[in-house]
């Protein structure tokens, strides 16, 4: 199981899912109608490191963060 958390304005509680890669996470999240608008605008981190490759493998307990568009300052 990995934990997926949704940051900032997404306003959704963390979920636990079975996933061996980020591609699995993607497939799972696309099933959630609430998230479809967000996914194309969101960046992704695993255990607080930004990632840019869908094939990265996940291990038990990994934390995947979904980061919506930002505007600090």
């Amino acid at each position: 199981m990995v934990i997926v958390e949704f940051l900032g304005p997404i306003g959704k509680a963390p979920i636990q899912i079975e996933a061996n890669t980020l591609a699995d996470v993607s497939a799972k999240l696309k099933e959630d109608a609430e998230l479809t608008g967000w996914l194309e605008k969101c960046a992704v981190a695993i255990n607080d490191s930004m990632v840019s490759d869908l094939s990265v493998s996940l291990k038990e307990g990994d934390r995947v963060s979904i980061l919506p568009p930002v505007c600090g300052g």
């Binding site: 980020l22 605008k41 992704v44 568009p69």
Partner: protein, 144 residues
Amino acid sequence: MELYQGPLDTKKIFSRWLDEQLTSNYGAYIPFVGIIRAEDGIEALSFDIYEPILQKWFDEWQARAIQRGAIVKMAHSIGDVPVHTSSYASAVFSPKRRVALELIEEFVEDFKANAPIWKYDVKNGKRIYAEDRSTPMDGAGLLA
């Protein structure tokens, strides 16, 4: 890197940063101060921050600055910040002005693009995500 609940005391921060580097022999000090503008009938802006990734982002910038003989500083507000007060201060110290002028621009622009901070307008006490002013981070869309 410093995070504060509510508005920044930028006068204190400016002075403290200066004092911290008093004998470091830097020749140029360029702060950038962001002030909340009164517009669109807002009372305040409000901010969410994801600190672990912000800290990493900042630490990477610090390493980059040090390679150029400089250092960077940053402070940001969490939660509500009323109009005409400050939510953001950053700064570069460098031996020479050229590096300082270049770095402050790169640092502030990358901050706007990639610091994990979410902004909300506050109107009638309600927080409204400032989606139209927000920027997808580098690598956005990976899961789409």
